[in-house]
Symmetry: C4
Subunit: 382 residues, 4 copies
């Protein structure tokens, strides 16, 4: 039972889960970055310097081996040229080579090991979802560049005027344009260190305008990214779901328009083996299609196993939303979730789908009935 | 009349209203947190310490009783196991147990009572809407994690470079990587305390880039949450409204597609008893369906009562938008609001609905007419 | 011609334009607030105090008269009770009464006049669009309240922990919970004054987490408001446009679905008299329907006037996007703008609309032709 | 091959690319602004002042010539009046005239050259996309103005109250209303310099409320801009794509509704000459239509050239997503990209389009087959 609780936890945390294979790499990365950070503190270098050095060399070795394995695999697969041009190759090189080179060149170790901060880029290598963020930036590049130009214009004009206003009163802070530019950046981004602050009334007025400009620019920037991200998110979701939907025989009978519509609605979730998906008595707000894997439905007299292509959990949606049986995976499975809201919309628009789900439900009930009678007969005859 | 004004106020503030049952708990919570905060100030501890202690123990007792009642109810309902796993149980335990344990262990009272700050978590217990925010984070977890990785990469690289640039000039602020990391966090989040500020030109340039990165990261983060929240908001609204819409007989005659469409349009509002919903002479921009409860329409010769399933306020939308009668609830009611914009769109798309509303309106008018004639006859004959 | 240029400017600035009637009020408000601000500066009070006092009393008198007129109008219209409950009445009272009362009670003038800062609330009275922002807050109240609860939880827990971590090192800044709460607010909102900054490594770590929480909370907040505003914006636009669209005979022949669709697309703009709307030779990306007012099309031999219900500018959209004639308003007009993108979508979906616009265009061309021939005959015969 | 890699890079960076013609102007602008900034630093003025002066005069001359050429072109084209009213003309004048005038008037050179900061406005002149941002501001002006009014109200009330609370304790920072207003601006925008910070408990409470108001205002502002930008972005994209889509004969056979639909889906990209568009063996997630230009498909026995109006890359989408041939541009081309998600949606909704693409694909395959047989015959007979 403790295992069941753990699995449930894992199930709920699934979206946050790292890929199983990258877990050791993440651990090494965390240890390495911590050791590198500690190595810059003189006190720690004196007290536990030896252990830090061992730790750092160990991490470097790990990344070197990891990179070498990846390179060998790429060369073995005959895709050497594509690998050499890939960002993965460059990240591997950048995390392994700079430190030894710096040490060989005579750079003192505390400085040389600073190159180990490049290891953090490996996080991007291990994490998916970057392509998506990148696409948003590329597609909205023109609009984002316009905002940046607005930012630059405000920056230069504000710092030039502030330089004129405040240079006599504060020659240190606003005496040169570079200093005034520093003030303008700090203010436009609403960071506000407070190391350079206008003192005159005119300076305050200009400062207020710069801050409001900063907020406006920031708002535009956020608006553009939000718009772009919404479009990209819809697109990616559709692509990811399409292939899985194609595998479910139930959907293959749909006409193409309905097929497209349902693909937009389904959400993919990956569930590890022996994990509860549905608990009897809970309120249910979605039904499940099995794209890959297998689940077991605990109904009397004997549990039923459903394989890829089957669906379950629709009874609660058709009735009073209370789950009537426990369902758990028997192996790692990929499920497609259809939310209650979408389920109802779909039933309303596609009567043939409603009929099919209804028929399947009835068939399953009668099946169940028959099995129970057989079971009763068996019990009677035995 | 003062009551009427109060009720109107309450009606307009309804969305902000706390659930009636949780009001005492909120009061106790507010008093408790204030007393706990005051108890950390030595002056107050000396002057009114006794009262604060009484206050704190009182709140603790209240929460203990509240938790015990909840636990007993759960055990009585036979759902003990589910309760023990629920967050509600943990919040109850965390708000009651730590302070006594700390006091018993000999922690000085001002420190022990700091554990009372955990009471603030009870706010989440009393407030709905958390599930929704949680779902947004879970559904967008992958994208948010990518932004966090971007943030970490910028953090480490910026602080390593800044450490190299500024360590000679400011050994205190940038002499070690942990200090430089602190600067980078403060700057990337555009907080900008100003306790550590780069002084060199190169440092200023890097700082400017870090701030702009911070804004970009922040914009992405906001964009992702906005996208996710929009989707989740649409979904939740549909689910909440569907059940209420099903209760209105008028909608049950609609074909499923129209039913789904109108469910997306209706908005739920809960109105307390004896509250004005419509005021004669005001401009009206919506009509109402009664999902639960009853309203009274003040028309001559005698007011008419409409119960669950009826609708009102449609005359203004069909005519010149001026309300022709006062309508007030007679008991706590749940109304479904259909905005003018949606009303018109719906009438345009579903002629059968338009006809039905029209017919009902006419029936009501003629009914009214007949009643008025009867009334006149009565008055004549009497 | 200078007037033409001015009008063009006014036309482009129209969306920013204050209502003509409120311009004097805005001026008085600006002068009053400036005088009030200046009156708090001792130097100015000594040098130009008399003028400031005159100015302030003048503004107060203006607002008193304005309020009295509004009240008289309301009482004359018999809507006294509604007026007394309206926010407008309260704003009028709050801007006029407090200062004299304070002066009478013996409050020194520089302090008494501070109540004049309440005048700024009149800005809300003069400005429309507040209802809309208010609706967004009301509709999304539940979600916003959840974010606020998250904020409060983070606030209390962070300040309690930080108080424990830093109270020994910095008894002044973190020695009591109220001080620590102040730090937490300043940090969670990413304001970052820098008056209280953690100094220990543990404090830095917690501070970093608080900042990231702050950004996350902020992002959620923004996302909720963006979602709510998008919905509210669509709704308000539809309502505003519907009535104007109903006035255009051309649209009345449309079936209801097309009517609804076009209402979603049209955008309202108010143009002052004698203002150029279209300039010959410019690139055109929209066509215009006249909801109210009149325009003059400068075509040879003689200009043509088009009144309410007519449309113009469609020739450029059907052809090569170059405007073929100047069009200017002859009186203040309300135009409905149909963008090129929407025009094409509409033409594609509603062939009867395309035919009608085409027919009208041809009729106008042949009309023009006939008039030109008549003109030529006249010239010949004369 | 190095050229191929470079071209691929250029292709991926294309959205960030400056127009080829404006590159020298951007360089001159960068040099000029840097020189101007450096010229305000006394040390640099002494050491390399002569070179900076030469640089600045050179840039001024460049901009003068650029402006003169633009003016001559406008006068030659007979559009002098429109040019004189255009912003382009004003920017040209502002970047050239102020500095000489200031020098002639006897302003010391370091101050006179500050007017060169106006050059930064030329960035807006070179960059497109500003019209779009401007439209968002104009269309949402009313809502944004309401937020600004909210901001002003919070500003005035907060600073008046804070002035009363803190003036006795900190006469320097809060003794006058202008100082308190400065604090309020710095706090409401969450800039937080920390030069003026409330010290009393009441001041902290008010400060906390002001910060939360600041975040709320900011969130509204961002939400409005996000909503406006999403609408404007959709509109602009449609207009830009429509003309290109009209040039592709394949789309001209579509009925208007399908034509409109596909226009919403296509994305424009400009590819320089001799650049790889598709690489054999890569995973493909889009197909391409050629709006302008020409590409070469490397298939055996001989490469095939496709000109404007043709499409390619559809085979991967119909099959297993693996590209089967290299495709590269032979000249600078404008391609229309149809994403996999949209491709599938389109195929589902428009069977005639699916058939047409299928037929074209088969025709191309058989063509290819025939050519290969001919090639084989040739080889045999030769």
């Amino acid at each position: 039972m403790a295992k069941g609780v753990l699995n449930t936890l894992v199930h709920h945390l699934a979206p946050f889960r790292l890929g199983a294979s990258s877990l050791p790499s993440h651990l090494v990365l965390g240890v390495g970055l911590t050791a590198m950070t500690a190595f810059t503190v003189p006190d720690l270098r004196i007290s536990i310097g030896v252990w830090l050095i061992i730790c750092l060399w160990g991490c470097l070795a790990y990344f070197a081996i990891e990179g070498a394995l990846r390179a060998r695999a790429a060369f073995a697969a005959g895709s050497a040229r594509r690998y050499l041009l890939s960002s993965s190759c460059w990240v591997d090189l950048l995390s392994v080579i700079p430190v030894p080179i710096a040490l060989v060149c005579g750079v003192p170790p505390p400085t040389a090991w600073l190159f180990a901060s490049l290891w953090v880029v490996k996080l991007a290598q291990y994490s998916s979802g970057f392509a998506q963020l990148g696409r948003v930036f590329v597609l909205e590049a023109k609009a984002l560049a316009s905002v940046l130009v607005l930012f630059l214009i405000a920056l230069f004009l504000a710092s030039a005027v502030m330089h004129v206003i405040e240079r006599d009163g504060q020659p240190g802070a606003f005496g040169t344009l570079p200093s005034a530019l520093w003030w303008a950046v700090v203010t436009l981004t609403t960071t506000g260190y407070g190391d350079e602050v206008p003192h005159t009334h005119l300076g305050h007025l200009l400062g207020a305008m710069v801050m409001i400009c900063g907020i406006a620019t920031f708002g535009l920037w956020t608006g553009i990214l939000a718009t772009g991200f919404a479009a990209e998110s819809r697109r990616r979701h559709f692509i990811q779901t399409w292939d899985l939907v194609s595998k479910v025989p139930f959907f293959q009978t749909l006409d193409p328009a309905a097929f497209t519509e349902i693909t937009h609605m389904l959400r993919r979730v990956e569930v590890p083996a022996r994990t509860a998906v549905i608990r009897r008595g809970k309120v249910g707000d979605c039904m499940y299609f099995i794209a890959e894997g297998e689940v077991q439905v605990d109904i009397s007299p004997a549990p039923v196993r459903l394989g890829a292509g089957a669906f379950f959990g629709e009874l609660a949606l058709l009735g009073d939303l209370i789950r009537t049986a426990n369902v758990a995976t028997t192996q790692a499975s990929t499920l497609l979730i259809l939310d209650l809201a979408d389920f109802r919309t779909l039933m309303a628009h596609h009567s043939e789908l409603a009929r099919a789900i209804d028929a399947e439900g009835k068939r399953r009930l009668s099946d169940n009935q028959r099995r129970r009678e057989l079971h009763a007969q068996d019990a009677f005859s035995s």
